[in-house]
Symmetry: none
Subunit: 260 residues, 2 copies
């Protein structure tokens, strides 16, 4: 089974590229982030014509996640509140979480807040959001041993996940508090699928649109598949497909393909 995560930065703008990519790369589940479209306007039919099932949780202009699946998903839910009914409903105003079950594997597709700049309100929101996510997974895990949590985490955990550059400690996506918040989540029992197969640095999933970052390979690995032990054992490969980033009007992220 192939599970892909891809922050498309607007599904409407990227639709043709995503369909083209799907035609060349048949997969089982495609986890999209930053769809930037409300559900009634999600372009379902291009996927449905290829035989895929579409589940989306979107909003106007920002955020938005979707699951594109070769088979109908079970137990689909969006946001934190279906699993954490007692939390503040405001946590689900931004559409960043969608989950569903295929072959007894729970896919959790996430678009983790970017956090803007250290010390900003958005940074605080990111850290608190990660605490809610911790709680969410803690609640899921007892009944759900097979979880594939993937998406755009907006966090690079290790130095080798970032192109060489000094003074990254105070950089968003690399600061200690957000890394620790993510490590706390992984400590619930998740492991990084990509690092099962590839230990060296220089493999990235995101390159800033600015400053010719892609051309100079100034990238970050911030799109991840985190697996519970059974799935981690079963993982066969985890590959970053750099090609879509080379397209004329690319997303700033490129797909990451897990095979289990």
């Amino acid at each position: 089974m192939k599970i892909v995560t891809w922050n498309v930065n607007s599904i409407r703008i990227r639709l043709e590229q995503v369909i083209f990519w799907l035609n060349q790369s048949p997969i089982d589940i495609l986890c999209l982030q930053e769809t930037k479209v409300i559900d009634p306007e999600f372009p379902r039919s291009p996927f449905e014509k290829l035989g895929y099932y579409v589940y989306s949780s979107g909003q106007k202009a920002y955020n938005g996640v979707a699951l594109i699946s070769s088979e109908p998903l079970k137990d689909v839910s969006v946001g934190f509140t279906p699993i954490l009914p007692n939390i503040e409903p405001a946590w689900d105003l931004q559409k960043r979480v969608i989950t569903g079950v295929i072959d007894s594997i729970r896919i959790v597709n996430l678009y983790v807040p970017n956090g803007s700049a250290l010390g900003s309100d958005k940074y605080e929101f990111k850290l608190n959001w990660l605490k809610v996510l911790h709680h969410y997974l803690q609640t899921l895990l007892p009944s759900q041993p097979k979880i594939c949590m993937c998406g755009d985490f907006n966090i690079a955990l290790a130095a080798e996940d970032i192109y060489q550059k000094t003074n990254l400690d105070n950089h968003i996506m690399a600061s200690e508090p957000e890394r620790q918040a993510l490590r706390d989540i992984l400590d619930l029992g998740f492991a990084d699928a990509f690092r099962k197969f590839t230990t060296e640095g220089g493999h990235y999933s995101w390159w800033d649109y600015r400053a010719g970052a892609f051309r100079r390979n100034m990238g970050w690995r911030i799109d991840h598949h985190y697996l519970t032990p059974i799935l981690y054992e079963q993982a066969k490969s985890c590959i970053i497909d750099v090609n879509p980033r080379k397209s004329p009007q690319p997303s700033d992220h490129t797909p990451v393909i897990l095979e289990i």
Copy 2:
């Protein structure tokens, strides 16, 4: 000598098209309207590399006029106030007038206000602006027998300048008050260069972006060259080049070329 008028609807967006057109159509003066850029940001060098001299009077986002000339122009001025020092300076807040002299011919390049809708404040502004223009030309004429006044007039004077459609009297660009205001100006001693050569209708310089107006040739002739008698006598041709309107990302106007 070839004098061209072209409302480009943003010189930055249309730059490539305009340079391409100039390369195929060597001309003496290009009068641009709706440049939509302040003078320091006007893309001078692409024109200067082709040997042209650039004179611009622009503002942020709206309006803006420019003269592109194969020879240096004399006596360049922008706005009404250099000729009419006693008028309210507010008349020059919108950048709609630029003039310069080549071969003892005064080029007056105009972007007449559109007027929005009959009875609106913008309509009143258009009528009053035309009165100021009348005064401006009256002041210029005694010392300047050769005037080529051209640009986007946002007025079609005759039925044959507009595609067939009923009830145009109350339509902006065709209403009697604005037509009369323009006729009053022409009565100072100007004649329509285009109508020296072409009497039949169906020749247009502007097509609305909406409703497939260009495809259906639902156009208007609102971009004009008005000449004083000596120049009118000398006029050799006046041609509308429809081709640029067929480009992928066209201006809604197409260039009109006068040869004298």
